[in-house]
């Protein structure tokens, strides 16, 4: 297995404060990588850093040549404005191919085929002409994942993907990500839902500005940080 992204002693931050401090980690091909932590612990900043929207203020961030070529698929948090957006599923998924277009104005047939393929992979090809705002939360999620796959199929970055989904859609979503992961897509997920993720992930990073833990989920459950977050033991009430 080769490393797709390597961080060594990386700081990410804005003008006057660092949101992520001294992070050393590696995302390898085929990983199911989960980042957990409370609100404001630097998770979203880390995502921005990996997407290249934020330069590290310290340390080195290395992205493998392979990944640079294919790019990273990204599933951002949903915004309120999207909920009633008039767009067909096809239009949304196709917009994932935008990064390949450069400055050419229209989509080619190949890109349309790729969009169709991504929809088939997620089982939403029947929804192709449906309006995004009429879909259920789970279907909207699938549409956005298809868009991310249309942008890049090597690696997906998912930012708080289960926010706003109902319980059955959440189970659905985890089944889907596991399947994608088995098919060879590297998953990098930021989440609050530690309990569900521990059974799936291959690596866990617990962030509170500094990394509190980085390793396998088996190790994680036995550390104090992990127990605190999983709600086991008496330490639950202690504040982070």
């Amino acid at each position: 297995m080769s490393a797709l992204i390597t961080c060594s002693h990386v700081d990410f931050g804005y003008e006057n404060h660092d949101a992520v401090v001294d992070l050393t980690m590696e995302v390898e091909e085929g990983d199911y990588f989960c980042v957990v932590g409370v609100n404001g612990s630097g998770k979203s900043t880390l995502v921005k850093g990996l997407l290249g929207l934020l330069k590290p203020t310290k340390g080195t961030l290395a992205v493998s040549e392979e990944l640079k070529k294919t790019g990273i698929g990204y599933l951002p948090q949903q915004t309120a404005a999207q909920k009633d957006f008039p767009a067909t599923v096809n239009e949304v998924v196709l917009s994932g191919a935008l990064s390949r277009r450069g400055n050419r104005p229209f989509y080619s047939r190949r890109e349309k085929e790729m969009a169709l393929e991504a929809m088939e992979k997620l089982g939403i090809q029947d929804l192709k002409g449906r309006c995004y705002r009429e879909l259920s939360g789970g279907q909207q999620q699938r549409t956005l994942i298809a868009r991310a796959l249309c942008a890049a199929r090597k690696m997906l970055i998912l930012d708080e993907p289960i926010t706003g989904l109902d319980p059955s859609a959440i189970q659905d979503f985890y089944g889907l990500t596991r399947r994608l992961n088995q098919e060879g897509v590297t998953i990098f997920m930021v989440t609050h839902d530690v309990a569900n993720v521990v059974g799936q992930a291959t690596k866990i990073l617990h962030l509170r500005q500094r990394p509190l833990f980085f390793g396998t989920p088996q190790e994680y459950v036995s550390t104090p940080a992990g127990q605190e977050f999983l709600g086991g033991g008496r330490q639950t009430r202690k504040r982070f």
Binding site: Y74, P76, T79, L94, L98
Partner: protein, 277 residues
Amino acid sequence: MRLIMEMLSYPFLVRAFVGGILVSLCAALLGVSLVLKRYSMIGDGLSHVSFGALSVAMAVGWAPLPVSILVVVLAAFFLLRITENSKVKSDGAIAMISAVSLAAGIVATSLTTGMTTDVSSYMFGSILAMTPADVKLSAGLSAVVLGLFLFCYNKIFAVTFDENFARATGVNVSLYNILTAVLTAVTIVLGMRMMGAMLISSLTIFPALTSMRLFKSFKGVVLSSGLVAVACFCVGMAGSYRFSTPAGASVVLVNMGAFGIFWLAAKIREVWYGRKK
């Protein structure tokens, strides 16, 4: 038909028609993006700023058009900045700016010429306002807007639907936002004197909202907005000539009517499909 021929025999009405159609087209296209991004109030705020700038420029004796375009573009930048920075609530800021510029405009005019018909025509518009220079400017503006929508359609969709994703895939989101703001500002200044400061924002908002009743794809909404805007403008102008009503207000009422028709059509379709199932 005779009505239209009769109207077209007046050169100032021809100018009003041509300029108005171009401005409504631009306003409608830009409006789709603004409405979907929840920036509807920006158009309203900018029209007030435009009123203030025009009145002050007139009072001081500067060239009104360049001054107000400059001021409104600056205001558009400022309002977008606020909206991007979520710590400040943009609706409050827009309301404040609207009131202040309106007040500034009124004070400036009353200190110099007094409240004359000029002020009233800024507020509620006048079809006499379109000069040949304005028509040329409108033509230039609509060429830019149409070009933007034709060649950057997919990017506009991506930026409107999901700024974060667009940014991550390497689209220069800020550039598009600034471009939209500048074009909106110019559209509003140009359209304001005909439609009136109080009414111009309806040109940006109505066509998009009307089209969203019926159309489910972004492409459908964009195309329909353009058509609806032009059609409503023409009907409104003809009505205003026929019944001697103010042009701007007539166009707004026709827009309201179109909204009602689309809404009704959507309801009927809903019931129809419901019964089929």
